[in-house]
């Protein structure tokens, strides 16, 4: 996919795609997909930073690494690889705050035309004061 980082896949209790974000710093990131519903192919997507000091995955880091768009392309690349392997899967995620959600929405809208051939992305305002993003394979 257009201008994305090289990713490495790992299957564990979840599905993980790993890459190094090379911006101001070199940050190890993980796109993790967890099954949400046992009877359906519904997966939750988390974009996580790996903390090398503690050895833990973290979701609350604002890395400000100067490569936001490349990271977004990489996340979409991961979803595309995942949906190629599991064509009936549906992926959902939300940001850490409403301002983050709005930022994602703007960024996704700006590149929607380029990905619409392969992916279907729905963005839904929730009553819980967040935006829910859903991704599935375009059929």
């Amino acid at each position: 996919m257009k201008d994305s980082y090289h990713v490495q896949y790992q299957k564990s209790s979840s599905h993980q795609f790993w890459f190094v974000s090379n911006g101001r710093k070199n940050i190890i990131k993980c796109v993790q997909l967890d099954l949400m519903h046992s009877n359906r192919n519904y997966f939750h997507l988390s974009l996580l930073d790996y903390d090398e000091n503690s050895g833990l995955l973290r979701d609350n880091v604002v890395s400000n690494n100067g490569d936001t768009l490349k990271v977004l392309w990489t996340v979409l690349h991961c979803t595309q690889l995942f949906l190629k392997r599991f064509p009936d899967a549906k992926i959902t995620f939300t940001g850490n705050s409403i301002s983050r959600d709005r930022l994602f929405r703007r960024q996704i809208n700006s590149i929607l035309a380029a990905i619409a051939e392969h992916l279907q992305i729905q963005m839904q305002d929730s009553k819980d004061n967040c935006i829910i993003f859903n991704i599935s394979r375009r059929k």
């Binding site: 564990s12 979840s14 939300t94 839904q124």
Partner: protein, 49 residues
């Protein structure tokens, strides 16, 4: 210059391998935080054709 670039790439690769080993089975902290939203998310996914 070329050697330094190659070394950096190799270092990144080692760091990545270590991270993947260490965090292989860690639950997502994000998923833990949004547990209360799961029914809403499932409802939203149900609406996709």
């Amino acid at each position: 210059m070329k050697q330094a670039k190659h070394k950096k790439k190799s270092d990144d690769s080692q760091r990545l391998k270590k991270a993947m080993r260490t965090a292989k089975d860690q639950p997502s902290p994000k998923l833990e935080k949004i547990k209360h939203l799961i029914p809403t998310m499932i409802e939203s996914l149900n609406q996709i054709n």
